[in-house]
Symmetry: C2
Subunit: 341 residues, 2 copies
């Protein structure tokens, strides 16, 4: 393994041998509807609560990813997972019956990138197979962070719509991956672990502004660490900055790093919904946003050969309802994963 700045380059890049992105009805009606492995028209998934619906959805994503990789849960050496619910119970209840060694992680909306980063170090150390994933659900998140849906609260223009979705990916050590998987599976060649960045944003309805500084820092540092420029990538994808956060990201990268990523940048929060038609204000958000987009649209298009080099940078706002009510700022974080075909 080599290291430059906070960027690590792996000797044994993990292969993504299976993946699945699943989503709810509203996400299914958006521009990426055809890409998801399944769309749940009934977002309660037949469960007694939206919390359990989120777990059922995440469970489904893992089962599909395992099936896609053609391996059993018993072959997985560790599963790394997180969500937005208190005490990460979304992941716990999703995974408990699958009997895989469990590593709970929390990176808010950056969780998919966080688990991918973490898994790569396990693979580099010699671990064979790691499953990763993340989820969010609009209804459980609204209750968690704002108000139950029944309250009918109004949303501000900068507010984002928490995605009902989940993604899972199965990573394997190239030393044990089959020849077929080595041939076609995208690999993670480098990762960058982010540092908490706090510019004092306090508006809990403006996650994009809270996360943009961290995204700018991680992307800027990654490009500097690797000595690359934006056009070296097919795509630089952020997690869920939305409209407001994306504008800020462009400004910050220009001002602080003299970098312009506009030509190759997409944001999962802007890809998953049609902002004009779907009334989601500033775009999508939540762990499940970048997780479901990566594990469906992005990885599908890497496998087909449309994209060959993607810098996936998921961003997270590190706050709780309590910290916001107590008037504290919302620090952001962003982790980057370089995926190559």
């Amino acid at each position: 393994m080599k290291k430059q700045g906070q960027t690590y380059f792996f000797d044994s890049p993990a292969r993504i041998i299976g993946h699945a992105g699943v989503a709810g009805k509203k996400e299914g009606e958006g521009p990426l509807g055809k890409e998801f492995d399944v769309i749940f028209e009934d977002t309660s998934l037949g469960q007694d609560s939206y919390e359990m619906a989120e777990s059922a959805m995440l469970h489904d994503a893992f089962i599909r990813a395992l099936s896609n990789a053609d391996i059993s849960p018993q072959s997985v050496n560790a599963v790394m997972c997180g969500d937005l619910l208190d005490q990460c119970v979304g992941s716990c209840f999703a995974l408990k019956d699958l009997e895989m060694p469990f590593i709970g992680m929390y990176g808010a909306c950056s969780t998919m990138a966080l688990t991918l980063c973490n898994a790569c170090f396990y693979i580099e150390s010699g671990v064979e197979t790691v499953a990763v994933g993340a989820s969010s659900h609009f209804a459980s998140s609204e209750r968690q962070f704002r108000f139950p849906l029944e309250y009918g609260g109004q949303r501000t223009p900068t507010a984002q719509w928490t995605v009902t979705g989940a993604g899972s990916a199965i990573l394997q050590n190239p030393a044990v991956a089959s020849a077929d998987n080595l041939q076609n599976a995208p690999k993670i060649t480098a990762v960058h672990i982010g540092t908490i960045t706090d510019l004092g944003i306090k508006d809990a309805n403006n996650m994009g502004a809270a996360m943009a500084p961290a995204a700018a820092r991680t992307i800027g540092d990654f490009l500097n660490d690797t000595g690359t420029k934006p056009t070296d990538y097919d795509l630089i994808v952020t997690g869920d900055l939305g409209l407001t956060g994306t504008k800020l990201l462009y400004e910050l990268l220009q001002k602080e790093y003299n970098i312009d990523i506009r030509k190759v940048h997409k944001d999962c929060g802007l890809m998953i919904f049609d902002l004009k038609e779907q009334d989601v204000h500033s775009g999508g958000s939540g762990c499940g946003c970048s997780a479901s987009v990566l594990c469906s649209y992005l990885l599908n298009n890497m496998e087909s050969g449309k994209y060959r080099k993607i810098l996936f940078t998921a961003t997270g706002a590190l706050m709780s309802p309590t910290s916001c009510k107590q008037g504290h700022p919302i620090p952001g974080i962003a982790h980057s994963v370089l995926i190559e075909k």
Copy 2:
């Protein structure tokens, strides 16, 4: 790296080159009072809220551990940390000003063992220096999981007292550790990542019963994987099973594995308080319990040579206030770390 079952044996065991355990007033009055690096007589730590007090305490533990290891935050390649507060904000606010690449983890009371396990894979893959830690605070936890202190709720006999405490350890790759550190620092030679274990316990005031099955499974499997017996260890330490959970652990290990660990077993939740004098019912609990005991008493006594081989197994109850109110069971998890001198 070798693997047997879910147990991993490292080629480059991480060295614990610095550590600190800090605690509150009540913990300071307990049997381990003299071992802590500092005791906060004012458990508000001069902050406006108990949540911020927890963050300040955890921040203090990290600063002391870094100082003890004689390294700066800038030398740390990644910090892995977690707590019991919603959205892990205890860790986020504790660490944001230290500017270390941040990996948020959640394992409930097992978090200290979880971060240690995780750090070892990073070190094995070639990362140089990793900081780990965990915290809990009685007053922030009561508000989080039960009722604010002002409510004056009565506690059941099986209830445990959440420890006001934090622990931090600095792990270094032997390839870069100084000769002095290599000589005297304890090392982590093996880890075992636990699997979620759910036997259907639903009593949120009986964490010990919820966690004991996971502890029995992880310890039993570890001993089988390593082909060792309890008397091969100076100590087998569990996180915070308390009185009720410890009795259950003995029963389950006997019944399911035919193993008796009584002679070498201690529980951090029973070590940190005097159950007869301190009115803590079934003992201590919380991430900060095993974190503060490991990073003070246990590691102090390894460095002095009193203990040479400790199996540290922290246990966690994977529930949230919402999941309990919705009538769901409380799955448990336990991760093991073998620390040798």
